[in-house]
Structure formats: structure tokens, C-alpha cells
């Protein structure tokens, strides 16, 4: 049933070449996850240095320039290189499995997305090699980012790599939107889709609509810096506020791009461990859609201090308050899901419940910020740093960790240790609150964000010290997780196909799944097809079906399944794209060289036959 994680017969078997050319969504998912976890360590180390510097008033561990680079890189890394790709890892691995598909709609575009993300991240971090990391914040407000006020290469690295990462995200969003709309198994109607796939779907649509705004903003910035235009230059009639609008009309939907996948994960994990269906399923789905929709109408609540006037302040305030309603609906439905269940306390459940408990705090402080008079007191202070970390760390990352612990057996074929899993949860939960809760007090006490030093008589030192201790507690938790992961891969207990007694399609196949996912595309007749199969319609009071909907697992001997063929060309194309971006730092010839590689890559990709000749997978009697 289970095979070695990496070894003969595993979908992960094969040398370097097989990884460079892979178009298997599961392997691409694993690549996304490994890369994102690597950057989690990088962004985490940046955070620890920031915390060390702030542990003492007037400390000199790093100077102002290094500090400004660190918080800029910490924010940019965690948003674009950790939280988004960690979610992308799960989109990749899980969406085809959850909807009953053999791969994504565009397998090579999928590989292209991953490589472009990887190279974009490397380009961003290459700035460290030149000692010129970006230093204008992850939000990069104009006109501080202009050539006049940021003459170095840091901002160029930042804007070019964000463009590359944006292309990766948009390509991926096109791919998964198409996959979800077109590749669902027969009977997998939209309303039967698992919640993770549903919230991921909303996320893809948000990415498609939000990234173009920041792309335009970055192109303006690029023109200002490279070609001497004046989009953001007040001295020549431009307006720096334009950047803030373009950035936040992307940036606020981006918040939901980061949180909705975790909402989806929690909505899949809680029912499994409560052994009940998700309470109010249609409400949870439609509230997710409502959050995504309203998310486009509230961007200026990041700009209450810019002086927009009372009418705009009121409009964006009301829009922001409205988002609290669907968010509250989700939280109540999660509690409703637990209510009356038989709750099994495994690590994924702990992380999912932790996500709910912590996200509530971030949501409530968000309501405070939705009120402009209160917001302009708390704006750009540590109160907002507390708020956003309760949302992104307590919400997004705890949700993603719930997902990692939940689907780990499916991905690797091994169980994670429950003891170490629970240990890492509790350490992380304590460390998280120790680090971020006191930031509320510091914000109320007048400590602004993004300051590398503060006066000894400010009275801020004690809480800063507590926070620094908390940050290292979080680091220990992450370390325990990595120990757990390595132990599991080396000698973990082999996972069964369905270790949690779950309800959705991915648990019907072997752990890890075969390359082709489904030997026979399943016929779906319920939102919980596998549960129905296991327990029958009598136990599922709302589903009136006669057929138990057995998801087929055994193919006929000699049956042929066509799979997309591996290809080097997506890798070459994204290498060309990233080189063209990096070339902008060198000269026109380097840009043209990159473009040439990109063009060759795209043409060769288009001309290479799509599918491997169908291979008779069960000629030898199955695995």
C-alpha cells in the first residue's frame, strides 16, 4: 500500500533530470512546498535579527540601512515567497485530487509557474549579494522609491523580481481557474467541491484580477526609475498617492489571497476531525465569495492617514465593516461544525482550531482599523503589526500548518509523529502570542512601525524584550516541526490511504497517489463522496442517493492512461524571463539575451508533442 517516500516505484523516484522536467502537479506541488519552507527559514531569520535589534533601546546590532533592508525583505519574503507558494503547493497537489482530475489543465504552464516563482525569489534575494537589498518596505511607497531618494539597486531588484513573481502568480491563476472550471469529475458540481478547492478557486480569481493593478504600478515605477518618466514625482506634476491606490487595490485583495486558502483548509480539516459535515456549507462557500468580492472595494482603508476627506473615509469604512459579516459567518459555522461532533484531537485539528482562535483576534482588531478615527491613531504603529501577524501568522500560517499536517500522509505516504506535532503546535501557539500580543500595547503606547531604534526613556523596552523571547520560541516550534518532518520521512509510520477517516476524493487513492491519480475517473454524487462510500446514505441524512458512488480504484489490466510528457522547455522559458528581468540591472544586451532565451523556450515548448504515448500501467498487475 505505502511505498518508500523516495525510491523505486514512488512518484518521487528519479534523478535531477526528472525533477527539472516534471509536469506532474504533485511533484510541482512538492517543489513549491520545499522552496516555500526554505524561504520560511530565510524570512524567519530576518525576523529574528529584527527582534534582536529591537530587544534593547538604542541597540546597535544592525544599523538603520540593514534594518530597513531586513524588514523590507521579511515582509516581501513572507508574503510572496512563503505564504503564497505554500498555498500554491497545496493548490498543486490537492486540487486535481479533490476534483477527480488526472492533472491540471495546463501541466507545462504549471511547471513554468513554479520555475518563474523560484527564479523571481532568487532574483529578489540576489540583492543581498550586492549588499543592496530593497529597503523601502514591502509596500514600497512612492516617491521614496524614486531614483532621487533610493539611488541604489535595491528598489530595482525589488520591482523586477515582483514583476517576475507576478507573472508566475497570474500563470498559475489562469491554470487553476481553468482546471477547477473544466476538469471536475462527472457529478462534481461546483457546490459539491471540497471547501479547500472552493476557497482556492476564489483565490485564483482574486489573483487574476488583483495582480494586474500592481503590475501597472510597478511598470510606472520602472519607467520612472529607468527611463526618467514622472508618474510618481510631484516635482514634475506626478502624484505619489497614485502608487498607494495601485498598490492597495492589489494589496488588499492580496490579504484575502493569503487567508482564503487557510479558510478552505480549516473548513476541510474541522469536519474530518469532528466527524461531521461542515455546518452550513453553502453559507461558508458564499461567505468566501462575498469576502473575495468585497475585498476589491476596501483598498483605501490602508490610506485613511493620507487625507482622502470625510466622504471617502466613510465609504471605505462601511465597506470594511461589511467584510466582517461574512467573516463572522465563517467563524460561527466552524464552531457549529465542532458542535455535536466527536472531536478527535490530532495535530491538524489543533492547528485548525488555533487558526480560528487566533484569527478571531486579528479580525476584531481589523474592525477597529475599519473605523478611520481609530485607524489613524493605530496606523503605522505596532498595533497594526500585531493585527497583521494575527491574520497572517495566526490565520494563514496556522491554517497552512493544519494543511501540512493533514495532507502530509497523502503526500509522503508516512505519518508525522503526533507527539512532536502537538509539541510544535503548543510551542508555536505560546510563542506566537508572546511575540505578537504585546505589540498591541506598544502600538497604543505610541511606538511606530519600521523604526530601527527607540529612545531609552520611551518605556517600550520591556514589551520588546518579551516579544524577542517569543520570536525565538516560535523558532523552536518551527525547528520541532522540521525534526518531526525529517523523522517521518526517514522512519515514519507508513500511512494508510485514509488515515483520518475523511470524506473527500483525495483519500480514496494510495498514499502517495499514483502518477495518474485516478485509474478510473470517479463518478461523484455528494459533497462527501468518500464518506458516502464508507458509511452509506443512511448515515448522511441530507444526501438522497441510491448509488453509493464507489470511487473506482482498480483499473482493468492493460488499460492505457495518457499523461503529459516531461519537458525542459518551461524551465528554459522561465529562465529566459528571469534573465531578461535580471538583465535590466546590467544593460540592454542582457535583457535581449534573456528575451531570446524566452522566445526559444516558448516556441520549442509549443512545438514539442504534448503527450507521452499512453502507457499501459497495469499490464504488470498493478503496484
Amino acid at each position: 500500500m505505502s511505498t518508500a517516500v523516495i525510491g523505486h516505484g514512488s512518484i518521487y523516484a528519479g534523478g535531477l533530470r526528472s525533477w527539472l522536467t516534471t509536469v506532474d502537479h504533485k511533484r510541482i506541488g512538492v517543489l513549491y512546498a520545499l522552496t516555500a519552507l526554505f524561504y520560511l527559514v530565510v524570512g524567519g531569520i530576518e525576523a529574528l535579527v529584527i527582534r534582536l535589534q529591537l530587544a534593547q533601546a538604542e541597540a546597535g546590532i544592525v544599523g538603520p540601512d540593514t534594518f530597513n533592508q531586513l524588514f523590507t525583505m521579511h515582509g516581501t519574503t513572507m508574503v510572496f515567497l512563503v505564504l503564497m507558494p505554500l498555498a500554491a503547493a497545496m493548490f498543486n497537489f490537492l486540487i486535481p485530487l479533490q476534483i477527480g482530475a488526472r492533472d491540471v489543465a495546463f501541466p507545462r504552464l504549471n511547471a513554468f509557474s513554479y520555475w518563474t516563482f523560484l527564479f523571481g525569489g532568487l532574483l529578489l534575494n540576489a540583492s543581498f549579494l550586492f549588499g543592496q537589498a530593497p529597503d523601502a518596505g514591502w509596500f514600497g511607497y512612492a516617491n521614496l522609491t524614486s531614483k532621487q531618494y533610493s539611488p541604489g539597486m535595491g528598489i530595482d531588484f525589488w520591482l523586477l523580481s515582483l514583476q517576475v513573481l507576478g507573472i508566475a502568480s497570474i500563470a498559475s491563476a489562469v491554470n487553476f481557474t481553468t482546471t477547477i472550471l473544466n476538469m471536475r469529475a462527472p457529478g462534481m458540481s461546483l457546490m459539491r467541491m471540497p471547501l479547500f478547492t472552493w476557497m482556492s478557486f476564489v483565490t485564483q480569481v482574486l489573483m487574476l484580477l488583483a495582480f494586474p493593478a500592481v503590475t501597472v504600478g510597478l511598470i510606472f515605477l520602472m519607467f520612472d526609475r529607468f527611463f526618467g518618466t514622472h508618474f510618481y514625482m510631484p516635482s514634475a506634476g506626478g502624484t505619489p498617492i497614485l502608487w498607494q491606490h495601485l498598490f492597495w487595490i492589489f494589496g488588499h485583495p492580496e490579504v484575502y489571497i493569503l487567508i482564503l486558502p487557510s479558510f478552505g483548509i480549516v473548513s476541510d480539516v474541522l469536519p474530518t476531525f469532528a466527524r461531521k459535515p461542515l455546518f452550513g456549507r453553502p453559507f461558508v462557500i458564499f461567505s468566501g465569495i462575498a469576502i473575495g468580492f468585497l475585498g476589491f472595494g476596501v483598498w483605501s482603508h490602508h490610506m485613511f492617514a493620507t487625507g482622502m476627506g470625510p466622504v471617502a473615509d466613510s465609504a471605505f469604512s462601511i465597506g470594511t465593516f461589511l467584510i466582517a459579516i461574512p467573516t463572522g459567518v465563517k467563524i460561527f459555522n466552524w464552531i457549529g461544525t465542532l458542535w455535536g461532533g466527536h472531536i478527535v484531537f490530532k495535530t491538524p485539528l489543533l492547528f485548525a482550531v488555533g487558526m480560528v482562535a487566533l484569527f478571531i483576534i486579528g479580525g476584531l482588531s481589523g474592525i477597529m482599523h475599519g473605523s478611520p478615527p481609530i485607524d489613524i491613531q493605530q496606523h503605522d504603529t505596532y498595533f497594526v503589526v500585531a493585527h497583521l501577524h494575527y491574520v497572517f501568522f495566526g490565520g494563514t500560517l496556522f491554517g497552512l500548518f493544519a494543511g501540512i499536517h493533514y495532507w502530509w500522509p497523502k503526500v509522503t505516504g508516512r505519518m508525522l509523529g503526533e507527539g512532536l506535532g502537538k509539541l510544535s503546535f503548543w510551542i508555536m501557539f505560546i510563542g506566537m502570542n508572546l511575540t505578537f500580543f504585546p505589540m498591541h500595547f506598544l502600538g497604543l503606547d505610541g511606538m511606530p512601525r519600521r523604526i530601527y531604534t527607540y529612545a531609552a526613556d520611551s518605556g517600550w523596552e520591556t514589551w520588546n524584550q518579551v516579544e524577542t523571547i517569543g520570536a525565538f520560541v516560535i523558532a523552536v516550534a518551527v525547528l520541532v516541526f522540521f525534526v518531526n518532518a525529517v523523522r517521518s520521512l526517514r522512519a515514519g509510520e507508513p500511512a494508510s490511504d485514509d488515515p483520518w477517516d475523511a470524506a473527500t476524493l483525495e483519500w480514496t487513492m494510495s498514499s502517495p497517489p499514483p502518477e495518474y491519480n485516478f485509474a478510473r475517473i470517479p463518478a461523484v454524487n455528494s459533497a462527501r463522496p468518500f464518506w458516502l462510500h464508507k458509511y452509506g446514505p443512511t448515515r448522511d441524512t441530507s444526501t438522497h442517493v441510491q448509488d453509493e458512488g464507489t470511487p473506482a480504484q482498480s483499473p482493468e489490466p492493460g488499460e492505457r492512461i495518457d499523461l503529459p510528457s516531461p519537458s525542459f522547455w518551461p524551465l528554459i522559458a522561465s529562465l529566459g524571463l528571469a534573465s531578461a528581468a535580471a538583465g535590466a540591472l546590467v544593460g540592454l544586451w542582457a535583457v535581449l539575451l534573456g528575451v531570446a532565451v524566452l522566445v526559444i523556450g516558448v516556441f520549442a515548448w509549443a512545438l514539442q508533442p504534448l503527450e507521452r504515448p499512453g502507457h499501459p500501467i497495469f499490464g504488470e498487475g498493478g503496484r
Binding site: I241, K276, S314, L338, I360, L364, D375
Partner: protein
């Protein structure tokens, strides 16, 4: 407030000293109690559900498969909406009250943000100062905000909320301070290398004290003549102004009544001989990235300049 025990200092936002700050604080308290109430109820429900419905040994194989409850759903959609309405109404009235036009006799002050210091212009009183803003208690101030370079944000926590200083356009804050004292402030929008060092002080004076201070500031300077010659010879006048003399540089702070300020270098150091000498020797070591260059001053020039600055009262 329930936050008294949270180690907040004297300069906390929750101790307002103006009408502007008090309106904000009243609204904050309303929202604080609502959110605290929601927090307690929802987290208790969550913890209770986890404890009450934990799996027990003799549970049946699966619990009852409940899919939802329409009236409950409608209820917990409407309940937040009603609470939000209770927050939105005072929010809207506070927004419009705080952004109402100032009375016609308001004291006009203009704050100009610079990397990394504050310029305060009193157009009706005819003088300019830096990094320390004085206002009279009880009189409405119309503070106009703009920037000479990048975006900054004016923030004195106890005064009330912050407002950005945008290059190329003007913002305003209208407030009436009601408590005499000295209050800390700081730039709140990240503005480059020494953003953390862009501090200021707000002095709320009794009206008579304010008048005395303003009269002093409006007088032309009477600089020490030897020191003034050194000032010119060292090139200081390229950036700094001393009103009443030909020195009219506009790049750095106006120094006309430098000696009357309690701090210098955007509030980083007390206005005393030793720190001042250290600053003149190497500005960058005090405020990294400072645009004032290290002038390689000889000891003779240094003490001459110190005499000048101390005399500019």
C-alpha cells in the same frame, strides 16, 4: 480603561490632550468594549465546543450528521450586522466632526516634513522654527501639512490621529489642545534611513506663555559677530537661515532662535554644549544618513559656532 496594567507610558494614545484626541479615544473605547465582548463570547463558545464534544470512549461510530440550520445562519449573519451598525454610526459622526473646517480665528501653523526633521512655519506670526511646535492651550490650531521631499506622517500620540505630509499637496489637522505640557511626537510614515530618528516635541503653553514665546521668535536674531563670520566662512549659510541676516539657506532648519529650543537634531539630543559639539563634528554619527555634511571643523571654528548657536536666543 482596562489597559491600565499593560505597561503603557505617559505618552500613550489613550491619554488624549485635545478635543481631537478625546473624540478618537471615546470612539476607541466604544469599539474596544464591543470587540472585547465578541472576543470573550466567541472564544468561550469555541473552547466549550472543543471540551464538550471531545470524542469519548463509548461514543457511537459517527455523531449525528447535521448539515446546518437556516435560522441560526440568518441569526449569526444579522447579529454582526447590528453590532457593526452600532460601531458605524459613531464612526461616521466622528469622521465628519474631526474633518470640519476650522474656525476663522484659528492659529495657522504649517508643518513641512524633511528627511529627517520638521519645519514649523507660523505664517501669521512671521517666523519659522524646527522640530519643536508650540501651541497655546484652548485655541484652535489649523495645522497645514506638506512635505519637501518624500511622504512623512505627523503624529503626536496624545494629540490624536496621524496625518500624512505629502509632497505636492496639503493636508490639515484641526485641534484644540486642552492640557499644558510637553508631548512626544514622531514621524509615522517610513521615510528612509533615519525615519526612526525623525522625532519632535509638541509644547502646549498657557496663552500668555505662548505669546511671550511667539514674540521672541518673531524678533530678528542678534548673532555673535565672530561666530556669524565663522558660520559664513564654513558654508553653513548655504543650507541654514538666520533671520535678520543675509544667511537665508532653506535646505536645513532655520536657526534664528536655535538657542531657545530645548532639543536639536529632530528631538534626538538635549540642546547643550557637549551634544551640540558632537553633532557638529559628525552629524551622521548622531542621525545616520543626515544630509548635513561633516565639515571637518577645526576646534577654533567649532567653539566659535557653538558660541553663535548658544547666543541665538
Amino acid at each position: 480603561m482596562g489597559l491600565a496594567g499593560c505597561g503603557l507610558s505617559d505618552d500613550a494614545t489613550i491619554r488624549p490632550i485635545s478635543d481631537f484626541g478625546r473624540q478618537t479615544q471615546a470612539l476607541y473605547e466604544t469599539v474596544f468594549w464591543w470587540t472585547l465582548g465578541i472576543f470573550v463570547v466567541v472564544e468561550l463558545l469555541l473552547v466549550f465546543a472543543l471540551w464538550r464534544y471531545r470524542r469519548r470512549v463509548n461514543d457511537p461510530e459517527v455523531p449525528e450528521q447535521i448539515h446546518g440550520h437556516t435560522w441560526l445562519e440568518i441569526g449569526w449573519t444579522l447579529a454582526p450586522a447590528v453590532i457593526l451598525l452600532a460601531i458605524a454610526i459613531p464612526t461616521m459622526s466622528t469622521i465628519f466632526r474631526q474633518q470640519a473646517p476650522p474656525p476663522i480665528d484659528a492659529l495657522q501653523v504649517t508643518a513641512v516634513g524633511h528627511q529627517w526633521w520638521w519645519e514649523f512655519i507660523y505664517p501669521d506670526l512671521g517666523f519659522t522654527t524646527a522640530n519643536e511646535i508650540h501651541v497655546p492651550r484652548g485655541r484652535t490650531v489649523n495645522l497645514t501639512l506638506t512635505s519637501g521631499d518624500v511622504i512623512h506622517s505627523f503624529w503626536v500620540p496624545r494629540l490624536g490621529g496621524k496625518r500624512d505630509l505629502n509632497p505636492g499637496s496639503e493636508n490639515t489637522i484641526v485641534f484644540t489642545a486642552d492640557s499644558v505640557g510637553v508631548f512626544e511626537g514622531q514621524c509615522a510614515e517610513f521615510c528612509g534611513t533615519s525615519h526612526a530618528n525623525m522625532r519632535m516635541k509638541l509644547f502646549v503653553d498657557e496663552p500668555s506663555d505662548f505669546e511671550a514665546w511667539a514674540n521672541l521668535q518673531a524678533r530678528p536674531a542678534r548673532p555673535d559677530s565672530a561666530g556669524y563670520q565663522t558660520f559664513l566662512a564654513s558654508g553653513c549659510a548655504a543650507c541654514h537661515a538666520i533671520d535678520g541676516t543675509p544667511a537665508q539657506g532653506k535646505v536645513g532648519p532655520n536657526l534664528t532662535h536655535f538657542g531657545s529650543r530645548s532639543t536639536f537634531a529632530s528631538g534626538l539630543l538635549p540642546n547643550e554644549r557637549e551634544p551640540l559639539a558632537g553633532w557638529l563634528r559628525n552629524p551622521d554619527s548622531v542621525k545616520p544618513g543626515a544630509l548635513m555634511p561633516d565639515l571637518n571643523l577645526s576646534e577654533a571654528r567649532l567653539s566659535s559656532l557653538l558660541r553663535l548657536l548658544e547666543g541665538l536666543r
